[in-house]
Symmetry: C2
Subunit: 388 residues, 2 copies
């Protein structure tokens, strides 16, 4: 059974001190309903991706809360949490729900408010993505863990900070033309390398920002597409969806520089969609930290081990390259409102496949891939999307 994305909505990533969590979610939902040109009363289930509201705002139970605020009661509503992969996981649950045949139309919203919260401790909250008992108690923050990975990557493969810096440079360049991006300014390698360190070797420009945002998608099957009078030309097909896991703790991995779950998740996604890496026209990867971009390209078959930066050096990751990545700014420059990120990635793929992104348009884009990480690749959710 085919599942389609019939509508998309996104809020500009920013510090939204004027909006509550539920208002943020509502904004994206309203935009997605409008984009689908449908009656919201036809939505049969709501899936909410969010990581931090419990800890930062003491608000759990976001399924029913947001269903109520969006005027969707009494529909089924569920909150999905897989750290920073919560957004893509929520999308995947909606996809599976439609595939079960029980419903024909679902709303997915990823939402996160990290700046204007009751408990201003996003760093403590984000540490919940990794192992509280075996990593965090030893003083590791989430940035610290990624810094260890980056340092090891540089040592093992003879890569310089200047090489890794090409990823945020690319993300910033693409964000300039994205009205929903948080940082719409170009940067250069020098600026990345000389910026203050968050945790050596990770500088402020190697790391996604703490921010607020929400993004939403309407999913339908073939039957509901017709019943709801949705324009087929406007739809994008979810060609495949997959999820795989790895240890949260880096020290428990055989080869910490290999994102095993990303490889398995991507391989399953390729197989299920009947495509190969060479068929992917653009790749929205999880550039929470620069080193993750390199490792993600390697895990998904676009570069040999340790050679991810080569693609950046050759300009292959640019809009006009062989494998454009983070085409709307990625986590680094569009922003990384954690539980919403996976939905933003998919929304951007849809925009690309519908040919709507102007200066950032990947020419003749037919197939796009989005990959969302929870932790340092401990949960990896991959979606492949196809133009109808």
């Amino acid at each position: 059974m085919s599942v389609y994305i019939a509508g998309i909505g996104q809020t500009a990533v920013s510090e939204h001190w004027d909006l509550s969590l539920r208002d943020l979610a509502l904004d994206a939902i309203v935009r997605a309903v409008k984009d689908a040109e449908m009656d919201k009363k036809r939505i049969e289930a709501l899936y909410v991706g969010n990581m931090l509201a419990g800890e930062l705002a003491q608000q759990e139970h976001l399924g029913a809360l947001i269903a109520d605020h969006a005027g969707l009661l009494p529909i089924e509503a569920t909150h999905i949490e897989s750290a920073c992969a919560s957004g893509a996981e929520a999308l995947r649950m909606a996809y599976l729900h439609i595939r079960s045949g029980e419903i024909g139309c679902a709303m997915v919203v990823g939402v996160e408010q990290m700046t204007d919260v009751l408990t201003p401790r996003a760093t403590v909250g984000l540490a919940g993505a990794t192992d509280a008992d075996y990593e965090v108690t030893h003083g590791f923050s989430f940035v610290a863990i990624n810094a260890l990975l980056a340092r090891r990557y540089m040592h093992e493969y003879g890569v310089r900070h200047e090489d890794l810096a090409l990823f945020p440079v690319n993300s910033h360049a693409n964000a300039v033309h994205n009205p929903y991006a948080m940082y719409r300014n170009e940067i250069d390698v020098d600026r990345v390398v000389k910026a203050p360190k968050v945790c050596d070797p990770i500088s402020t420009f190697d790391s996604g920002p703490i921010c607020d945002g929400s993004a939403a998608c309407v999913l339908v099957n073939e039957e509901s597409m017709k019943e709801l009078g949705i324009n087929r030309e406007h739809c994008v097909e979810i060609a495949s969806s997959s999820c795989a896991t790895d240890t949260l703790t880096l020290s428990a991995r055989d080869a910490p520089l290999v994102l095993k779950a990303a490889r398995i998740s991507a391989d399953n996604a390729y197989k299920r969609a009947g495509v190969e890496p060479g068929d992917i026209d653009l790749f929205e990867l999880h550039d929470a930290f620069s080193v993750m971009s390199a490792m993600s390209l390697e895990a998904c078959g676009f570069a040999e081990k340790g050679r991810g930066c080569e693609l950046a050096k050759e300009g292959q990751i640019r809009i006009d390259g062989s494998i454009p990545i983070c085409t709307m700014g990625g986590l680094k420059a569009r922003g990384h409102p954690v539980g919403a990120t996976g939905v933003y990635q998919v929304v951007e793929c849809v925009e690309q496949l519908r040919g709507e992104v102007g200066r950032n348009q990947v020419k003749d884009a037919e197939i796009a891939m989005a990959q969302n990480f929870g932790g340092s690749g401990a949960t990896v959710v991959t979606h492949i999307l196809r133009r109808v």
Copy 2:
């Protein structure tokens, strides 16, 4: 497509200061695998129901964490949170995943550690089930909200505390013979009514305890049942599954004494299973507070509005009554480890349908219903189970 529960496991509800959250989950998973007499390597996805680990233990991302600890990597793993309905929601997601045709076998675990935690504030955590902005900021705890409901119920229908007290008396009587129950002692109406008040009129005996626990189920489809060599006689069919929502805020409900989401969820479950209330042989309802038992019986069609206590007075809710409830002690006496509760309820239904509970056995039980609430009935998940 039919989905079956092929194996069940549960940890005795208690204060488990000697077990970590992951060890608690593992215990139930190992028991469920053993009960199904299967190879755990055949499990294709893990769904974890949990409400409070993020806030109380600063540990999110329980899907991958528990998949790792249970030796299930690199399978798909997802954490589901719908307040106290997290357990049943996790089960429902596994059920839908199998119904999608993508997998044939899934593990569901509900786990909660509320007593031995980093941040000893279960009451604050539980308030996350209700509206942080519009209720909790005004000083409402979750118990306070239920106390308001109970007081209104008593006023509106001329019900006395002595009438509501019959529900915890029943739950305690049934827990005596359940080795997994937290409180295995009988109580009487006088003890409930004279016990110290948590929040008037709710006494300590009207309220489920703060505790630790985990429960697990293995779900399979017909094909996997054969492939894995699972004994069909040992299986119980999930005849239907459904979820509905209502406002978190009580003040936003037209009729706060009517559990609208419970009614819708139950009606859908009846319809999908092709049964009526009269066909249900036992009902594991969500007796987090005494008043919820009465309201739940009314919402699900077993009693007229305001007449739920009559069933208790007539002895109809006892093991040998017309609609036995909380047959293994319910939330009150078996215990209410919030994110695990929904799975315990289903595990107990399975035990009953397999005829394994000795003195608590409901004679010739063919069809059982489990209903799990998030908040004061803001998310309601209903499962109807049938003997194969």
